[in-house]
């Protein structure tokens, strides 16, 4: 790989590095700056102190998105496995069917759930036929979790599938021949072998879930405010307070880093393969 270290070729990265410095690093630096200064530009920890009172909102965001991540994993694991054991044409079709909704605007798909879950919505109309309900589903925590699971499930299925097709059928058969039951095969063979896919999937579901403000706004009503909503409110909502908003964003980033650090110490090289 490091075969030909032509200095000239290395210079090809310069425009890219300059671009990323100006439009990624500088903006993040500005978030740090705003988070640690007052409106007058003096250094302060005040912004973080003022954010402390929203601790419950942080916990709620983490709780709901962890629940959504776990549900995604439980739903996606069998799906990814079943898909990986299908024939080539079947796999191709399934991948297409899983990816298709992802290519549609997630606002439209979430809007679809909004109309389904309403008190006067289709699901309640349907339940009414059996004399059940009406259940109040919209504007609840459950609706927010549902929205997260729905929107980000493909992000869990795809990496799981692409790691599981690499698992050799004969390994599982060998384990079965040696007398392992289904559960044992799952715990001792399947899960350890698909671990990189699981970790990628968790990252790709948890990060957008914990920072969303659209899903909570559309499916949670004004009653289920998450950390993303709070940040949005500081910039484009009820009061322009980039200092408090930046402090919240910094805490959010640190929380994500800590949680992801606990879940994995994954090698960035692993991900390259997953992106394709």
């Amino acid at each position: 790989m490091g075969r030909k270290k032509s200095p000239l070729t290395a210079f090809l990265t310069v425009p890219y590095l300059v671009w990323m410095a100006i439009f990624v690093l500088v903006p993040l630096g500005m978030v740090l700056y705003f988070g640690f200064t007052t409106a007058e530009g003096q250094f302060t920890f005040q912004n973080f102190q003022s954010v402390l009172k929203y601790g419950d909102t942080f916990f709620k965001s983490i709780r709901l998105s962890l629940v959504a991540t776990v549900i995604c994993l439980v739903l996606a694991f069998p799906l990814g496995y079943i898909m990986s054991r299908m024939g080539e044409a079947g796999q191709r079709t399934m991948l297409l069917l899983i990816m298709l909704p992802m290519w549609m605007s997630f606002l439209l798909r979430t809007y679809g759930w909004m109309t389904l879950l309403e008190n006067e919505g289709l699901i309640n109309r349907f339940l009414e036929l059996f004399g059940i309900g009406p259940l109040s589903m919209i504007n609840t925590e459950g609706a927010v979790v549902l929205g997260m699971v729905y929107n980000y499930l493909p992000f869990m299925v795809l990496p799981l599938h692409s790691i599981m097709i690499k698992i050799d059928k004969s390994i599982i058969e060998a384990a079965e021949d040696l007398g392992a039951n289904g559960f044992y095969v799952l715990i001792k063979v399947l899960i350890p072998l698909s671990l990189p896919g699981i970790i990628t999937g968790i990252t790709m579901v948890f990060v957008p879930s914990v920072s969303t403000f659209v899903i909570s706004r559309m499916l949670g009503g004004g009653k289920n405010v998450l950390i993303g909503d709070l940040i949005e409110q500081q910039f484009l909502g009820t009061v322009y307070n980039p200092q408090a908003g930046s402090a919240m964003a910094i805490i959010l980033m640190v929380l994500i880093l800590v949680i992801m650090g606990i879940i994995n110490r994954f090698d960035s090289e692993e991900m390259e393969g997953m992106m394709v």
Binding site: K53, F235, L236, G237, T238, V239
Partner: protein
């Protein structure tokens, strides 16, 4: 694969180029652009056979109008304040206008360009929020009351207490903006809607927190849909919009509670630093023309502060007690004024606590 991709790419490219040409090819010279920032559902927009006011203005003055909407005064204020957006025209409510005047966010108007300002009724000329009438031209006014679905309530909700009533739990909607929400709590507790007393404001916040358990959700423009299809039983909202909803669903009705309420004026203003100030003033003048004003008022159902527009309305509208309430009712209503900065901050903080809980 390669062929499919290159076909796809050239199709996209052709489309882009064609669209680029068609959008700028038709009219050679650059048109002046006016940016209007208005409330949602607050202008006659051409739907349901109404007049498309924006299009009419574009044609009359051969300009392009960029028209965006906001849901609350606070949202509009935040976006302008952030510097991320540039608009020429905004239509804030009374208290927000005085706040923006104080913070030097509005331009003084040149009334030579707004001859139609002569039609402003006397009651709306020297207002508290713009004492010399230099910054704003009133667009509409109205009261706040409770919209309710007669089939879903046991009695007329003529007290704000109905919005805390356990029997309607899960069927009550509430304002998602702090000023209107606190205004209701203030009336219910018998305080002024412009109180700056911290203890009074905290008492209101406690009341609003208590309310959360019976609420379905907090709304602004989403209310139309929810009330029209019977998704909720009752909700506080603006009189004009209540009339719009009542036209869609005949089970709906509107009442201004006995404790009194808020009466508001929304007025057109030009944002500080507007590059199209004169055009913006022409737009304000255009909105005050009899035909245009009538089309807007008939579409949005709010009350008009303009004599010419009022005279042009049909008798039924003029005599609608919801849109043009009597003196007795108005005497029970209060209008918002801008509050001191620390009170604004306190309300904002408490409101955040209420919604995140």
């Amino acid at each position: 694969m390669k062929r499919a991709i290159s076909f796809l790419l050239s199709a996209v490219m052709l489309f882009t180029v064609a669209a680029a040409f068609s959008s700028c090819g038709s009219d050679g010279e650059e048109k002046a652009v006016l940016r209007v920032y208005n409330w949602g559902e607050y202008i006659s927009d051409g739907s349901e056979d109404s007049l498309d006011v924006i299009e009419a203005f574009e044609e009359e003055y051969n300009v392009e109008v960029i028209y965006d909407i906001y849901a609350t005064n606070e949202e509009m204020y935040t976006k302008i304040k952030s510097g991320a957006v540039d608009y020429d025209i905004v239509i804030p409510s009374d208290y927000m206008i005085s706040r923006m005047i104080e913070e030097d966010m509005l331009e003084k108007l040149n009334f030579d360009n707004i001859p139609n300002a002569q039609y402003i009724m006397d009651d709306f000329k020297n207002t508290d929020y713009d004492p010399n009438g230099e910054y704003s031209v009133p667009y509409t006014w109205g009261t706040v009351g409770i919209v309710y679905n007669e089939t879903m309530v046991s009695e007329v909700p003529d007290s704000w207490n109905a919005l805390w009533d356990e029997q309607y739990a899960g069927n009550i909607l509430m304002f998602s903006n702090s000023r209107d929400a606190f205004g209701i709590a203030q009336k219910l507790l018998g305080y002024s809607q412009n109180t700056t007393d911290e203890a009074e404001i905290r008492a209101c916040a406690d009341l609003l927190k208590e309310q959360k358990s019976v609420l379905q959700t907090y709304v602004m423009d989403e209310i139309f849909d929810k009330m029209e299809i019977g998704e909720a039983a009752l909700a506080p909202y603006y009189a004009g919009d209540a009339v719009t909803m009542m036209a869609e669903n005949e089970d709906l009705n509107f009442v201004v509670p006995n404790e009194g309420s808020n009466v508001f004026i929304d007025a057109m203003c030009v944002v500080k630093g507007s590059e199209q100030k004169e055009l913006a003033e022409k737009f304000i003048n255009f909105m005050c023309e009899t035909e245009i004003g009538k089309a807007n008022i008939e579409y949005i159902c709010y009350s008009t502060p303009l004599q010419n527009v009022y005279d042009a309305l049909d008798e039924e509208t003029k005599n609608n007690p919801i849109i043009y309430p009597d003196e007795e009712l108005l005497s029970r209503c209060e209008s918002f004024v801008n509050l001191p900065e620390e009170t604004n901050l306190l309300i904002q903080d408490l409101w955040n606590e209420i919604i995140v809980e």
